[in-house]
């Protein structure tokens, strides 16, 4: 009960939730052998390549690694803003 009230009034997530969130990230890194910096530069490179062909608003892009069972999956949701203006 004390804990219940404490949780409602405090912004800090419970230590179990922190453990779970931290582990989720660590396990993705461990399994893919991809650090979070490497993941960031993967995203940048990917957007770089794609924007040669389509117009992308970087703010609306979502690229994440998700877990399906023990299978890791790279999921990219990239709204196309329009055709890229080609210079011929």
């Amino acid at each position: 009960m004390d804990n219940f009230i404490k949780r409602i009034f405090s912004k800090e997530p419970s230590s179990a939730d922190q453990a779970k969130d931290r582990l989720r990230l660590v396990l993705i890194n461990d399994r893919t052998d991809l650090s979070s910096e490497a993941m960031e530069s993967l995203k940048d490179d990917l957007l770089d390549v794609l924007s040669r062909y389509i117009k992308i608003d970087p703010k609306s892009v979502r690229i994440d690694i998700t877990q399906e069972g023990r299978q890791q999956r790279l999921i990219a949701d990239i709204p196309i803003a329009g055709p890229v203006s080609r210079k011929y």
Partner: protein, 267 residues
């Protein structure tokens, strides 16, 4: 008979492999199964003391592998339970005295006379671990609800799957239901979510485990202990019976719940 070889491993040290091996062995034997427990932790012999058989050792695993004794001479009969045997590890020899192919050969020799061969793996991912999983038909990964233990379990699961041993099953040891309720410990659901393998059993944190280990008697024979019950249930599940997971709140009765409503229960 053709024994099933079950290896208990963890990645992180000290999470309860040896205790689990001794108690699953005891619980299976108690159900009439013929079981040999092999201590694969060469140089750090432990399963003998946990099983209370340290005074009966004449020959060990390395003696058997190197042909200094017959295999059945290295099998020590349990004091309490008929049909339960220990093959102790060697204490002082060099760690490379046994190879993965030695373990496969040894288990194949044992299979025809047993129902189960349980292998207590050392921590880590070195030679001893490789020895322990080489002959396995199935691997059990044991962990604690704690970040580093879960992380290491995940590494081990990856390695076991890469070795084409199938998906291991999970034992979650030292769960403290009170702390889970207070959101200060990963729950069984959290751990299963993260590791994404099948949960074979949950063993609660239980002081009686240390007490029974002090005496060298298996907690699995203690009718009153919750951890003992957990081990008996795990044995039944291994035998294919459908036993629900333990209700770990059983300890906290009506009065506990009342007092926790008024804020004086758990602290």
């Amino acid at each position: 008979m053709s024994a099933k070889v079950l290896t208990i491993t963890s990645g992180k040290g000290g999470v309860g492999k040896t205790t689990a091996t001794a108690n699953i062995g005891a619980a299976l034997a108690k159900r009439g199964q013929k079981v040999a427990c092999i201590d694969a932790d060469i140089g750090l012999r432990n399963l003998d003391v946990v099983m209370g058989l340290e005074n009966r050792i004449v020959y060990d695993l390395v003696d058997a592998v190197e042909g200094r004794c017959r295999l059945n001479q290295a099998m020590i009969k349990d004091k309490y339970i008929p049909g339960l045997y220990l093959i102790p590890s060697a204490q002082t020899r060099d760690k490379t005295a046994v190879s993965p192919s030695d373990m496969i050969r040894l288990c194949n020799e044992l299979r025809s006379d047993l129902d189960w061969i349980l292998i207590d793996s050392p921590a880590g991912i070195e030679r001893g671990f490789k020895n322990a999983i080489a002959p396995a038909d199935e691997v059990l990964v044991i962990t604690n609800p704690e970040v580093s233990a879960v992380r290491d379990a995940d590494r081990i699961i990856g390695i076991v799957e890469a070795e084409e041993k199938g998906s291991p099953r999970l034992l979650l040891n030292r769960l403290n239901p009170e702390m889970v309720k207070q959101n200060n410990m990963l729950s069984a659901d959290d751990v299963v979510d993260l590791l994404a393998i099948h949960l074979l059993g949950i063993i609660p944190e239980d002081k009686a485990v240390l007490i029974s280990t002090n005496k060298g008697t298996p907690i699995a024979l203690d009718e009153k202990s919750l951890a003992g019950q957990a081990y008996r249930n795990i044995a039944q599940r291994l035998l294919g019976e459908d036993v629900p997971l333990l209700d770990l709140d059983k300890g906290s009765g009506f009065f506990n719940r009342i007092s926790s409503v008024f804020g004086s229960g758990e602290k």
